[in-house]
């Protein structure tokens, strides 16, 4: 028995000395399975040849809290996810390795590199990205005799089409509109409004912002759109899968969900409607890999980072319908030209990043707390508890206090 234990320990030590074990910390959910498959099917062999392996450690629950804890305690992985919305805060801890001169950032889409640049230094390489698009239920539009949404739709024509479908039945809705800035913001940007103005302040009483809030919440009050929770769903993808909601405004992440939850749903995808500014609005959502400044295997970690963001890995992720590649060279991807609904959806989401007023899903060092007052206001208006003006005035007050605190 003892010999066996010693032998196992010896082997483990030997293995440890030969192979460099890189730890990656990231989201839970489907990510652990994806990483294992990526390792097994795409990049594992070449890394192994260099004596490098990696393990993926999902942080379940509140990723941000868990990562801050791990970074402070010195237990964070050699590589970790940096969500774009929390990037300024994570980089401000000083625990993220500057990548200038270590990784060639020219190969990646500029706006994605910018989102992870602080004072001219790059701290993260976007693993992929997403934008919002209109996914529509072809059968519902056909049944209602309404033309499906298209790239020429304005807010008005888009709303009219939703009204047409919603008129089908009391249980049928044009769209699910969550009371959250993480989706609504795209419409606010379509008016030309920006999260922070030139002075670094957020103006919620700007006529453009008020117009967007009014349009968005009026559709809910009118009964054309509905909050997901009011039909027992957690998000608009869930609404869409019920077959009773005409459109879902989501990114390419909805594709995997639909494949599992609503495999028979016939859907198409088109661009966000054109707003009053004559442009579309959109969010750029992304997550990057960052390297731990205290990593004992820095070189191996950088090598793994390169492999994870390599063209082969990104092509595989794209073809699995998981996310859109962050490398510019993959822009003219034959996969985007295929005729399947999923390929079309991916192409639209990809093109969305460069069409109209597109802003990163980012709120400076204030982080996602920025959205709380706005979300509260949206709820109050949608449920008829408050007028647009009163709700936004209160939200502006809360937001000013928040920004004041963060400084």
């Amino acid at each position: 028995m003892r010999q066996i234990v010693i032998a196992i320990l010896g082997l483990a030590l030997l293995g440890g000395a030969l192979a460099q074990q890189v730890r990656i910390m990231g989201y839970g959910g489907q990510d652990p399975a994806i990483k294992v498959r990526l390792l097994d099917e795409v990049i594992g062999a070449s890394l192994e040849a260099e004596g490098i392996t990696f393990t993926y450690e999902p942080l379940e629950g509140d990723y941000n809290a868990a990562l801050f804890n791990a970074l402070s305690a010195g237990t964070a992985g050699d590589i970790f996810y940096i969500p774009v919305e929390t990037a300024p805060g994570i980089i401000a801890t000083g625990k993220v390795l500057p990548l200038d001169g270590l990784i060639d950032t020219n190969a990646f889409i500029d706006s994605l590199v910018e989102a992870y640049t602080v004072d001219g230094t790059v701290y993260g390489i976007a693993k992929d990205f997403n934008t919002l698009a209109i996914h529509y239920n072809i059968d519902l539009f056909e049944e209602a005799g309404v033309e499906v949404p298209n790239a020429e739709d304005t807010w008005e024509s888009f709303a009219d089409k939703l009204r047409g479908v919603a008129a089908l039945d009391a249980d049928v809705y044009g769209a699910c509109f969550p009371a959250g800035f993480d989706r609504f913001g795209a419409f606010a940007f379509a008016t030309g409004w920006q999260t922070f103005d030139a002075t670094g302040a957020s103006n919620l009483l700007d006529p453009d912002f008020v117009e967007a809030v009014t349009w968005y919440t009026d559709l809910v009050r009118e009964g054309v759109a509905i909050q997901p929770s009011d039909i027992g769903q957690g998000w608009t993808g869930g609404c869409f899968a019920t077959d009773n909601v005409a459109v879902a405004i989501e990114g390419a992440w909805i594709l995997g969900f639909l494949r599992n939850e609503a495999p028979n749903l016939q859907f198409g995808t088109t661009f966000m409607p054109i707003g009053p500014s004559g442009e579309r609005g959109n969010f750029l959502y992304t997550v990057a890999y960052g390297v731990n400044v205290d990593s004992p295997h820095r070189d191996a970690a950088l090598r793994v980072l390169e492999a994870l963001t390599s063209p082969e890995a990104q092509q595989w992720v794209l073809e699995q319908g998981l996310a859109i590649p962050s490398r510019t060279e993959l822009a003219d991807n034959p996969f985007f030209l295929e005729d399947t609904p999923e390929a079309v959806a991916n192409a639209v989401v990809f093109a969305g990043a460069d069409d109209g007023n597109v802003l990163g899903f980012q709120f400076g060092t204030i982080g996602t707390d920025w959205m709380t007052p706005v979300n509260d206001a949206l709820v109050a208006i949608m449920t008829g508890q408050s007028s647009v003006e009163a709700a936004l005035t209160e939200a502006q007050r809360d937001l000013d206090a928040l920004i004041q605190r963060a400084r």
């Binding site: 941000n64 402070s72 959250g180």
Partner: protein, 369 residues
């Protein structure tokens, strides 16, 4: 002498594992937290001593004041209601009835079910089109029929009792046999009335009471310190539901020790069941009441999990409690953690809990228990 010293050493040896854990995870952690509460520590930079600045900042923070109000109201209201209901339920379950074991087990279920699962289920029930609004609507719809049923049954019961008494037979107003007849006859009458179309459910608008996504408070327009946010009331209802059984069990144990002779003596003196409950049951279980009040106060003042699971379903300000405030400042949405500020909040919560328990002990003591 020697054996005595050996005993002491042995005792400490047995205590050692626990003392070690206590020192590391409680004493050391507490001392660190107290120290941090006087600094501007943020997990990453060296802490600087700032004196009482964090404590002063607490009382200028709108979210903290909401949390303080919510925690205190939550503790007072929930403790009062659940202590009383736990005692009533224990008294009910302390009967010698066939199958009481089943009821005891069934009533205890909410306490052994995971708090997370129950909170999720309640989240669904509190939706705008959830079960609670539906029940409310149904009740309003069927109210005329219900009222008619109760009235008819009441009249029948009175008539029967009077008839029995007119024949010089002893009959109580709540005579079970007569009650069964009254209820059956009332049921038949209602069936007849509805089939004939003389009685029908009312047409009511769907109840659209917003339990969660609201900043409204009850009573509406009350001063800040006395108004309960509606989402917090929803959490109160859920918390009372899940914690009653635990305290009920303690009361049930205490009730088993109350001598039957007291009740027999009271019955002979003509005391009613209600009088017996207030004059015998409540005084007899007073020590357990102190325990229940203390545990309930501590538990409710430190309530965290239900707020955390409610998450985005309700506005933070309407449900935040002191314990959640500490977490929220420790891990704000992507800002650098405010460890010093959060630690000050945690210290305040600890002192508040201690003060409440000491005050309660003094109050209960002075009443002579």
């Amino acid at each position: 002498m020697r054996t005595k010293r050996a005993d002491t050493v042995a005792a400490y040896l047995f205590l050692l594992p626990f003392l070690t854990l206590l020192t590391i995870f409680f004493l050391y952690a507490t001392v660190r937290a107290v120290y941090f509460s006087f600094t501007d520590y943020d997990l990453f930079r060296e802490p600087n001593w700032v004196g009482f600045r964090n404590y002063l900042a607490l009382f200028q923070d709108a979210l903290f004041l909401s949390a303080l109000r919510n925690s205190v109201l939550f503790a007072l209201i929930v403790t009062a209601i659940q202590t009383f209901l736990a005692l009533v339920m224990a008294a009910v379950l302390n009967q010698k009835v066939r199958g009481i074991g089943f009821f005891r087990a069934a009533f205890y279920m909410p306490s052994i079910t995971s708090s997370v699962v129950i909170t999720l289920i309640f989240l669904w029930m509190f939706q705008r089109r959830g079960l609670i609004n539906y029940l409310n609507e149904s009740l309003q719809r069927w109210l005329p029929i219900l009222v008619a049923f109760v009235l008819i049954a009441l009249v029948l019961q009175v008539l029967q009792v009077l008839w029995e008494r007119s024949r010089a037979l002893p009959a109580r107003w709540t005579d079970p046999a007569l009650l069964v007849v009254s209820l059956l006859l009332a049921g038949a009458a209602i069936w007849l009335l509805t089939t004939l179309g003389m009685l029908s459910p009312r047409d009511v608008a769907p109840v659209d009471f917003i339990w969660l996504q609201t900043r409204d408070t009850i009573p509406a327009g009350a001063p800040f310190w006395l108004s309960v946010p509606i989402p917090l009331a929803a959490i109160m209802i859920q918390n009372i539901f899940t914690t009653i059984p635990t305290f009920m069990l303690m009361y049930l144990a205490a009730l088993q020790d109350v001598p039957k002779s007291h009740y027999e003596a009271a019955s002979i003196d003509g005391a009613t069941a209600t009088q017996q409950f207030f004059r015998i049951t409540i005084p007899s279980v007073a020590p357990v009441t102190f325990l229940v009040l203390t545990l309930s106060m501590i538990g409710t003042l430190q309530m965290f999990d239900q707020v955390a699971i409610f998450g985005d379903a309700a506005p933070l300000r309407s449900v935040v409690t002191l314990a959640y405030f500490v977490y929220n400042r420790m891990f704000p949405g992507a800002q650098t953690p405010e460890v010093g500020f959060a630690a000050a909040g945690a210290m305040f919560l600890a002192l508040l809990t201690l003060a409440v328990v000491l005050l309660q002990r003094r109050l209960v003591r002075s009443e002579g228990y």
